[in-house]
Every structure is written in structure tokens, then in C-alpha cells.
């Protein structure tokens, strides 16, 4: 088993800075996701870990052994890692069994041992009957499983996956997500899963590293990302987040704070180091917003749009005080509100986004 220590990693292609000062420590056997919008440098990070690219600054170590630095470079073939490529990268001229057993053949394992390990790996992904087929005879989901069993047979301590579900139909994705979880349990490998889909990342990973424009902005458990986003970008990116301005923030010292959001006093959560601030940005989710009850002071807002979401409506409202901010929240099906109506909104919870360092 191997942990991955990445520190100060930087990479530029010509004048294009793709990664800047990325540091993170991935524990042995952990399943982490790297999440970020397309073009933010996720694939480049994976290729640096795999050794296909060399870093401009910083270094990468597996289990304490430096594999990449500006001075030293272990080539990919000596890193003992597995990769599930976006297009699966199955060799078309080999059968499924040959694909799965190739790394064992390269190592020089005996034929018997190889056969045993291959059939074991194929059994785990339920492809035993397909051992003698060619990859071209398989469906997308089956190819994906062959790619997984290739890592399984090799017993790679580290497995990297680059948007493995991007090429699959939506209805196959849920099934494949289960497959990844089972794979992780079976192999115990340290897994780095790259995706731009936040629900995939949140479902699968122990911890999620959120990247933006080549920088690592937050690396934390899914619940932490959701409840305590470190930056506005994370707050907006995760869980249909809404970012609103707030004033006169006063921390209570116990992780809670009071503030005025769009002129209405609300109670919020904040980081332990937080003091008093004149202005801040608040991260909310639709679940934190509701129509104010009788006698409650709410902020006046106009409903712009209602969209049916099965069992209820998603409403989008805009406050006169902050016309750019769209406040999304859920309404029950029986709600007698029409677009254009004026409502009063209450905020039940929110997170004071820490001031930028």
C-alpha cells in the first residue's frame, strides 16, 4: 500500500500555467476525488502523478519514495500504478484475458499464476464469460469493467481514474459507481478519481480535492465541502450552492455568528478563528431557504421562475436589494405561488466564507 505525497507541484505548457503550487497528502488506501471545472488542470495533475509529465516545481512521493521532482523522474512503467483511462485504452489486438493479464506477463509471472489472477480479477467484475472476447465485442460498461480488472489483476497499490464515466450513458453511471466502490473494497488501493461532476465526487470519495484554475482550493470530506466551503468558488460549485453578501458579522466564539443578510438578521455558522467583520460572503444551499413564517422577519423577494421537480417545485427568487443573486429554494407541490408573486424569505442556515488569505 502506498500513500501519495504531493508538494508544491507546478506545471506550465509554454506560457500556459496549468498547475500552481499544488500540495496534498493522500493516505494509503484512501479514495479521493479531484473535482473541478473542465480545463482546470485535473488531467495534468493525474499525468504528473503517473509520470507521463515532468513537474516544473515541487515533487511527488509514493510511500515515502520520491518518484517525481525536478531532479529525479521515475518513468511510469516503474511506478507500479494502474490507470483507468477515459476511453478505457483496451488493446484491440488482445482478448479480454490478455488485456487483464498483460502486466503480469511483463513482470514474468508463471502462466498458471497469471491465469489464476486473471480469472480472479474477471470474476470480481463479473466478466468471466467474456475472457476470450475482443474488446470491440463489449459494451461501454463492460469495457470499463475490463479496465478496472486490469488494475485488480496487477494489484496496483495506486489506481488513477480519469473521468471514467464521461463516455457512458447516464443510466449506466449509477451501476458503475457501485462498481468503483466494490473495486476499492476488494483492492484496498489508494484511488485518485478525476471528475468534473460534483455528485460523482461526493458520492464516491472519502475526500474531495476541489481545483480551480490550476490551484487546489479545498481538500476535505464531502460533508465539509458542503457545509464549510473554503472559498466562494467551492461554495458555488458544491450542492447547488448560492453565495450572498452579508454585513455586520459578529462571531459568537462557539462556531456560530450573527449577521445581516440583505438587511435581515440571521444566525450562521463560521470558522473558529472568525472575529467581527463589516462585510462577508455567505454560502447557502436551497435547503437553507424557506418562506418566512407568520411574524418572522424575512427579506422581500420576487419569484422569477418555478420549475417542477417531481414532488415539488424549485423556485428562483430575486431580492430587490441584490438583483444579481438568484435565491433558489424548494416549494411543496401544493404551494399556491405563481411567478411574479412577492414573497418573504427566511434563511435558516449558512456558512460565513472565510476571508481570502
Amino acid at each position: 500500500m502506498a500513500d501519495i505525497a504531493i508538494s508544491g507541484l507546478g506545471k506550465a505548457f509554454g506560457a500556459n500555467r496549468v498547475l500552481t503550487d499544488v500540495s496534498m497528502h493522500i493516505r494509503s488506501g484512501e479514495f479521493i476525488a479531484v473535482l473541478g471545472p473542465s480545463g482546470c488542470g485535473k488531467t495534468t495533475l493525474l499525468r504528473l502523478i503517473a509520470g507521463f509529465e515532468r513537474p516544473d516545481t515541487g515533487h511527488v512521493a509514493f510511500a515515502g519514495q520520491t518518484v517525481s521532482s525536478t531532479a529525479h523522474h521515475t518513468p511510469p512503467e516503474k511506478r507500479d500504478l494502474g490507470i483507468v483511462f477515459q476511453n478505457y485504452a483496451l488493446w484491440p489486438h488482445m482478448t479480454v484475458a490478455e488485456n487483464v493479464g498483460y502486466s503480469l506477463k511483463v513482470v514474468g509471472l508463471s502462466t498458471d499464476e497469471r491465469k489464476r489472477r486473471v480469472s480472479e480479477a474477471l470474476k470480481t467484475v463479473a466478466l468471466t464469460d467474456f475472457a476470450d472476447r475482443r474488446p470491440s465485442d463489449l459494451s461501454g460498461g463492460q469495457r470499463q469493467r475490463v479496465a478496472l480488472s486490469r488494475c485488480l489483476a496487477a494489484r496496483n497499490a495506486i489506481v488513477l481514474l480519469d473521468e471514467p464515466l464521461a463516455n457512458l450513458d447516464v443510466h449506466l453511471r449509477a451501476a458503475m459507481e457501485d462498481e468503483f466502490t466494490r473495486f476499492h473494497q476488494a483492492s484496498g488501493s489508494t484511488m485518485v478519481y478525476i471528475t468534473h461532476d460534483q455528485s460523482e465526487a461526493m458520492t464516491l470519495a472519502d475526500r474531495v480535492a476541489v481545483m480551480d484554475a490550476g490551484r487546489l482550493v479545498q481538500f476535505a470530506a464531502p460533508a465539509t465541502l458542503y457545509r464549510e466551503p473554503a472559498t466562494e468558488m467551492v461554495a458555488a460549485f458544491i450542492g447547488e450552492g448560492i453565495v450572498v453578501p452579508a454585513e455586520d458579522i459578529v462571531a459568537n466564539g462557539d462556531g456560530s455568528a450573527r449577521a445581516a443578510v440583505l438587511g435581515v438578521p440571521v444566525s450562521l455558522r463560521c470558522a473558529s478563528g472568525e472575529g467581527a467583520r463589516k462585510r462577508a460572503r455567505i454560502g447557502l444551499h436551497p435547503q437553507d431557504i424557506r418562506i418566512a413564517g407568520a411574524g418572522e422577519t424575512g427579506m422581500p423577494a420576487r419569484i422569477k421562475r418555478l420549475s417542477y421537480r417531481g414532488g415539488g417545485f424549485r423556485a428562483e427568487a430575486v431580492c430587490e436589494a441584490a438583483p444579481q443573486t438568484i435565491l433558489a429554494f424548494d416549494l411543496p407541490e401544493q404551494a399556491p405561488i405563481a411567478p411574479g408573486a412577492l414573497v418573504s424569505l427566511a434563511i435558516g442556515d449558512g456558512w460565513v466564507i472565510p476571508a481570502a488569505a
Binding site: 514474468g108 497499490a157 484496498g188
Partner: protein, 576 residues
């Protein structure tokens, strides 16, 4: 189920080479390409510019200023330009018909249209000469005959232009067809929606958009004409119509004290003309190059009522340019003496028996050519796989220089390579202390230099179809460079590389211009044999050898076609 983390992978024994195998391969590739393709050309330039070790402009001016060289240069440019015009018209028409219309029977027509390009030009020339000789068996059959005693109509500038034009039309055809196939169908459909007639569409939208392909095709035809020794020698020498290439050839026969440096200067002149031609066409083709997005769907303009007449004309053209001369060749090869009528009484397979069994020189020529071409094809295929690997996935300035050198050695006329090889290998090799001049080895060296680009192009086409991740997956599976080459990359590019091997094999077997200066009594190849036999008056024997060569070419083309479904489109030029 638990999978214990066996750490075998990290403990596996590995021989740690001090330098990675990639580096060794790169060094070997560099030595090979620079040593065989580039260094001889450098030597040629050096000899041309500084024959006695220092730059000698007066000598250069003296040679280039002679009336003989001036006439040959003008003649060369004339036949190249006029034949290019002919190729341009025929090739563009053919490409338009094939790529854009609903003509029937395209596959067979394309095969037959490309065939002349695959037949050795000296064989084509021989066939044409025999078809139009006063005693022509074919014209006789048609009830036509040319006045006896007059000069042969093809032994003239017009004859050379005609044959070069026909020979190079397929080059223009291939280039224009490729351009037309890339044409986005939307643009044409937009024109149709605007109400333009089909003819108008062709001239105002389609052909202007395919301009780059047309210019590229013209450049290829021009360069190929300048360097076509087979046709220029077979027709030009009897016609006393000197061109640069025949002048170089005749200079070799008049081996004087300054013959070598004279040849070097003429070869340089030929090379410069070629490079100017390529550059000019490249510039013309890239100017206002229109890049448009859209799907390249096949177009099918309806020929309507004109379809049958057009098809008849298209096939009649092939009968006149291919069937007529070839049947003259076959007929001649089957009679005892040149000019005899083919009847049951005169029919004989004597010429074939002579060519294959009795004449030791011809038989040796066959075998020498065979092993030279097979060796060339095999070596170049292996080399190309590695070169194409680096060119596709590890581009560096070094590897691009190698690519350029290989393309240069292919683009300039084969006879220039021949001169360069003589100059480079005349002196004994260092260490080995013997000269390969006059042996088959110098021919092999010239083939390897000249045909590398052909094999490389095809292999590069194969690499373009492989996703890089297939190699990377093998890399993370632990396979080193050579192992990946063997297990993953070679099998995946094998079809394209094999197609390249076949094309190299055919080109090397057909060539005459590279080895014409290099053959000796000890080393004879098949290509020049026809010229020597015809010069020696053995027309029927020459015809038999020519027919055998055409047969070999046909068998190879059909063999390659049988495997075409494994190949990237466009690797086999004769496939529609």
C-alpha cells in the same frame, strides 16, 4: 475477498541500463537517416560548389553557361511544365468524376487509372513506342498504320510531354481527390440552396475550395516529371532531345577527368529546380488557404442524361492510355522478331523463357532486384515504425530534422541521389578499407535513402489512428520501451506499415532513376535492364521483361487490396 498487496512489482529485478533504450534507438535513427539521406546530399553540394576543396564560382559558371546545359535546362522545364498542365487537366477531371459524381464502376476505374503510376515508366514508354511504331501490331489490328521509314512520332518533345502527362495524372488525381473528400458537404449544399447549377457549383465553389489540393498535385507532377528518367531517356535519347537528366546519364558514360564534378553540378541544378518547384507550389497552395469546418460527407452530383456518355468517354480514355500500349507490349513479347504479326505461327514463349531462364544477366537482374527491394522494404518498415513513433508522440527538433531529411531525399530526383551516392561512397569506407561503389551495397544505400519517406508516410497514417492512451496503458502495466514496441505498437500499426512495405517494394522494383548510374557488371537491377535491352535492339526480350514486371506489380496491388479492410483509408492509393 481479500487481495493481499503483493509487493512483487517493486522488487522485480530490472537491468538498469545507464541510458534508456529510447535514447539508443534515437541515436541509431539519427545516424542512419543523417548518414544515408543527408550526408551524401551534403557531399554532392560540396563537390558542386567546391570541386577542388574551395568554392569555385568560375567553374560553376562555366558549366552552367554552356549552350548544352542551357538547352537541356530549357527542355527540362518545358516538358515538365507542359506535362504538368496535361496531368492537371486529366487528374482534376478524373478526381471530380470519382469524388463528386454518381459515375458507376468507380472502384475498377480508379484501379485502372492509378495503374500506370505503378508500372515502371520505362516499361510504359516501351509499350507506347511499340504501340505507335510503323509495324505496330495493335494499330494494324485497328486497320491503321503509320508510314514506314519516318521518324517515330513519340520520339519528340510532344511524345515526352504526352507520356509524362499521362504517367503523372494519377498524382494530381490522388491529391485533388483527397482535397475534395475533405470538402464540407454543407458548403456545397448551401450553394445548391442558393440555386446554383451543378456546373456553376463546380467552378465557383468546389474547385476553388480544393485549390490547395490542386496546387499540391501540380507540384508533385512537376517534380515527378523533372526526375522521370525512364520516359525522358527512352524517348528523349533517340529523339536527340537532351534534358538535364539524360545529360547527367550521358556524362557518366563519358567518364573524363572532370566528369564527376560536372555531374555534381548538373545534379545540383536538377535538385534546385525540384526544390524551387515544391516551394513555389507550397506557397501557391497555402495562400488564402480556406479552412472551413463541417462534416466531410461524400457528395454525389447527378450526371443525369450525361452519365452514360461520360462513362463511355472515361473508359475509352483508359483503353487508349492503358490497354492499347499494354497490349502492344504483350503482343511484342509473344513474337519472335520485332514487327512480326501475332499469328498462331509466330506465337512463341521464347522471350519469356529467355528472360527467366536462358539469359543469365536478366535472371541475375531479377534476383538482385528482388533481394534489394525486399531488404529495403524490411529495413525501412522497421525503421519507420520507430521514426513514426517519435514523430507522432515525442516530437523534438531533432526528430523533425530527420523527417525533413527523409522527405528531401525522396522529393529530389532519384538520379541526384545516385550521383550523391557515387560521390559519397567512391572512396573506400573508413575502417573497412573497401569501396562499395560498383557493388549492390551502394544501390541498397541509395534505396534506403530514397524510399524512407514512402514507408514513413504510410506508417504515420497508421499511428494517427492509434490512441496514445493505448501506449500509456502498456507503460503503466510496466512494459519498457522496446517491449511496448513489440507487444502493443507494432501489432497496431502493422497493417499500415505493411502497406508501406508493399509500396516501397513496388517503387524500388520499378525504379530506374536511382540505380541507372549505380549499376555495374557486378550489380545489375531490373529497372535499367529494359533500357539496355531496347538500346541493344532486343525489343521482344525487353517487352517480355516489361510484361513480367507489370505482372509482378499487378499481383502486389491485388494482394495489398485483399487486406485493405485492415488499413487506414488512403494508404493504398489505387483504392477508391
Amino acid at each position: 475477498m481479500t487481495l493481499a498487496a503483493a509487493d512483487f512489482a517493486r522488487e522485480r529485478p530490472r537491468r538498469a541500463l545507464p541510458i534508456a533504450s529510447e535514447t539508443w534507438v534515437l541515436v541509431a535513427l539519427g545516424l542512419f537517416v543523417m548518414g544515408l539521406s543527408f550526408a551524401p546530399l551534403l557531399r554532392l553540394a560540396y563537390t558542386a560548389i567546391a570541386p577542388d576543396g574551395w568554392p569555385d564560382a568560375s567553374r560553376l559558371a562555366e558549366i552552367l553557361g554552356t549552350r548544352q546545359v542551357f538547352t537541356a535546362t530549357v527542355n527540362t522545364l518545358r516538358v515538365a511544365l507542359f506535362s504538368t498542365l496535361l496531368s492537371l487537366v486529366v487528374g482534376t477531371l478524373a478526381a471530380t468524376l470519382v469524388a463528386l459524381t454518381d459515375m458507376r464502376g468507380k472502384a475498377l476505374w480508379v484501379f485502372a487509372f492509378i495503374l500506370p503510376l505503378m508500372i515502371p515508366p520505362q516499361v510504359s514508354a516501351l509499350a507506347w513506342v511499340q504501340a505507335f511504331s510503323p509495324s505496330s501490331p495493335i494499330l494494324g489490328l485497328l486497320g491503321l498504320s503509320l508510314p514506314a521509314g519516318g521518324r517515330h512520332p513519340l520520339y519528340s518533345e510532344a511524345g515526352i510531354v504526352l507520356l509524362l502527362g499521362i504517367y503523372n495524372s494519377p498524382l494530381v488525381f490522388l491529391s485533388v481527390r483527397a482535397a475534395l473528400r475533405r470538402l464540407p458537404a454543407e458548403l456545397v449544399e448551401a450553394g445548391q440552396a442558393a440555386g446554383a447549377s451543378q456546373t456553376r457549383l463546380l467552378f465557383t465553389i468546389i474547385l476553388p475550395l480544393a485549390r490547395a489540393g490542386i496546387f499540391a498535385g501540380a507540384a508533385l507532377a512537376f517534380v515527378s516529371s523533372i526526375g522521370n528518367f525512364g520516359i525522358q531517356a527512352m524517348l528523349g535519347i533517340p529523339a536527340r532531345f537532351p534534358t538535364l537528366i539524360t545529360l547527367i546519364y550521358q556524362k557518366l558514360n563519358s567518364f573524363g577527368p572532370s566528369a564527376l564534378s560536372d555531374m555534381a553540378i548538373l545534379a545540383m541544378l536538377l535538385a534546385v529546380l525540384t526544390i524551387v518547384g515544391i516551394t513555389l507550389a507550397g506557397w501557391l497552395g497555402s495562400r488564402k488557404d480556406v479552412r472551413v469546418d463541417g462534416s466531410a460527407r461524400p457528395l454525389a452530383l447527378r450526371l443525369g442524361l450525361a452519365r452514360l456518355p461520360i462513362e463511355i468517354v472515361a473508359w475509352a480514355t483508359l483503353v487508349a492510355t492503358l490497354v492499347l500500349p499494354l497490349s502492344a507490349l504483350v503482343t511484342t513479347s509473344l513474337v519472335k522478331g520485332f514487327g512480326q504479326k501475332l499469328t498462331l505461327a509466330t506465337l512463341t514463349i521464347d522471350n519469356y523463357a529467355s528472360a527467366l531462364f536462358r539469359q543469365a544477366a536478366i535472371r541475375e537482374g531479377f534476383f538482385t532486384s528482388l533481394w534489394l527491394t525486399i531488404t529495403t522494404a524490411l529495413v525501412l518498415t522497421g525503421l519507420s515504425i520507430f521514426l513514426a513513433y517519435f514523430l507522432t508522440w515525442h516530437r523534438s527538433r531533432f526528430i523533425r530534422v530527420l523527417h525533413l531529411a527523409s522527405e528531401l531525399a525522396y522529393a529530389i530526383p532519384g538520379i541526384v541521389i545516385g550521383v550523391a551516392m557515387i560521390l559519397f561512397f567512391l572512396k573506400p569506407l573508413p575502417l573497412l578499407d573497401f569501396s562499395i561503389y560498383g557493388t549492390v551495397w551502394i544501390i541498397l544505400a541509395a534505396y534506403l535513402a530514397n524510399f524512407l519517406a514512402l514507408s514513413l508516410r504510410s506508417t504515420l497514417g497508421g499511428f494517427a489512428q492509434i490512441d496514445r492512451s493505448l501506449e500509456e496503458a502498456a507503460q503503466v502495466a510496466g512494459a519498457g520501451f522496446l517491449r511496448r514496441m513489440r507487444d502493443i505498437i507494432a501489432p497496431l500499426v502493422a497493417p499500415a506499415a505493411a502497406a508501406g512495405a508493399i509500396i516501397v517494394f513496388m517503387s524500388a522494383l520499378n525504379e530506374i532513376q536511382v540505380s541507372i548510374l549505380l549499376v555495374s557488371s557486378k550489380a545489375k537491377t531490373l529497372g535499367p535492364m529494359i533500357v539496355f535491352l531496347e538500346e541493344g535492339g532486343s525489343s521482344t526480350l525487353a517487352a517480355a521483361v516489361g510484361c513480367l514486371m507489370v505482372a509482378i506489380v499487378l499481383v502486389l496491388m491485388l494482394t495489398a487490396s485483399a487486406f485493405s479492410r485492415f488499413l487506414p483509408r488512403g494508404v493504398l492509393p489505387w483504392q477508391n
